[in-house]
Amino acid sequence: MPFDVKNNGNGSGHPRSQIWAIGGGKGGSGKSLITSSLGICLSRTGKEVLLVDADLGGANLHSCLGTPYPNVTLSDFIRKKVPDIKDVIINTAIPNLRLISGAEDYLEVANTSYAQKIRLLRQLISLDTEYILLDLGAGTAFNTLDFFLIANDGIIIVTPEPTSIENAYRFIKSVFFRRLKRMINDARIRDIIVNAMDRKNELGIRTPVELLNYVESIDNEIGQRFKNEVLKLRPKLIINSVRTKGDINIGFSIKSTCLKYFGINISYVGHVEYDECVWQSVRRRRPLLLEYPNSRPAKCIERIAKNIIMNKEIEEEHF
């Protein structure tokens, strides 16, 4: 079963390759920009990196890398036009960095079946590459959630706007319940949860943390198991398009709120400043890190890559 959970960030992964999944709800928050830039940072450390445009339906990762629209894409693999995932990998102009471009035919591919998904994941994790970065695209489709959960590191990109934050919470909530749901094939557990959700007003259950505590009070062992699952969720947070100190602080507030509400301990790995040079490089279809290597957003992303590798959080800055 490829979704088995090991003792890493979000789920299992191949021992040889680290999978990072970049998601977080809202469209246009900078997922593709940050995925491609993190990929470039990693490739510069001499590691083999594979970027996968898993934004089934809204693929544009190739643009962020300045790669022409490829003639093989993930959809060729999903529709079994080619048997082997290796057949859809293309090289980029950047050493050590390769790409599987996204599927363009939305309807067919966005509804990937469970079996297809498993085939894709099996083949991905069997690849001999040190890092696999998945650009997940917007939304909370099961595809997206499962890719996020299977990754070693799940990274959520949020911009400092109410709508973006709301979407991120919706995403985290979906991840939370998707994760618990996998344990609910036990009829007894399902009964407890269903009962709790039915009576949640009567029982005064408001937050996921309260739900977990209620389950624990009914059945200590199951409650513990749930809590352990939730504790394993340690998504990473990046705030993108930051313009003020207050914007940076929103990251800390999100972290605190998630801890108190979901019981999920997010790690805030950094922020990326807003800068005109980002869209200028996008417009020229040139990678930000090559076009403006000394820009502030580029430096921010380098720091984030370092933090993720070292498993560190943003330095609490004093001001």
């Binding site: 109410p162 934050i165 937050t207 309260e210 939730v230 602080n249 507030s253 605190s256």
Partner: protein, 223 residues
């Protein structure tokens, strides 16, 4: 993983039990920012009432952990497994820690410290015995090193944060002043100015505090 209503003061502030004073200040500021109703990070998950409840707990946590004596007592109860939910922090010298203080003597000391006790805690020689129970504001004969200043401030129920607000001196410098970290203090001109502002903020004679502190500072730096 506990509901915020059941969290202890460290959990409410999301800090480790050995958090430094500065970490407490930062956590407090951050929590205020998060739950005061302005933050876009909070409104969609917590209602206004819940935010207020959290804020109340944050406030109590901050008060309790900001003062060394009440923190010690709180820690003692935590580690003894006692119920700490209605732990009453004290906000000024008259308000003692509520139930079952360890010893009557200590309780009295918390309520109204004698010069003697304060000086001993600050590692100073006791002043002339003439002063003990008179006007506490003059602190006659007391030498003001950082430790002493901190004690006096805490006994007046003031947080470092409120001093920083009043004086606009960075909390880091204030902490260094109170911590007698002479090497880390700014140059003399600034320091003197800071000391006088600080003294004024906690109701002490600015000139006396400054002069007394500078003696410690010079001695400390030359050592």
């Amino acid at each position: 993983m506990k509901m915020f209503r059941d969290q202890n003061y460290y959990e409410i502030l999301e800090i480790r039990p050995d958090a430094s004073y500065k970490e407490i200040e930062e956590a407090y500021r951050r929590a205020k920012e998060t739950y005061s109703g302005e933050s876009p990070a909070t409104y969609s998950l917590f209602t206004q009432e819940e935010c207020n409840e959290i804020l109340e707990a944050v406030e109590a946590a901050y008060r309790t952990l900001s003062f060394s004596k009440s923190r010690e007592e709180y820690d003692r109860r935590l580690s003894a497994g006692l119920d700490v939910r209605d732990f009453r922090y004290y906000t000024d010298t008259k308000e003692a820690i509520k139930p079952s203080p360890p010893a009557a003597e200590q309780k009295e000391e918390k309520v109204m410290p004698s010069y003697h006790a304060v000086s001993k805690e600050a590692g100073l020689h006791p002043p002339q015995e003439s002063a003990p129970h008179k006007d506490t504001e003059t602190y006659e004969g007391v030498e003001f090193n950082g430790k002493m200043l901190k004690l006096i401030r805490e006994r007046k129920g003031m947080t470092l944060n409120s001093i920083a607000d009043k004086t606009r001196i960075s909390i880091i410098y204030l902490e260094h002043i109170e911590g007698d970290k002479y090497q880390r203090l700014p140059t003399e001109v600034y320091l003197k100015n800071y000391l006088m502002q600080y003294a004024r903020a906690i109701g002490l004679d600015p000139k006396r505090v400054m002069e007394s502190y500078m003696v410690f500072c010079k001695k400390g730096k030359s050592e």
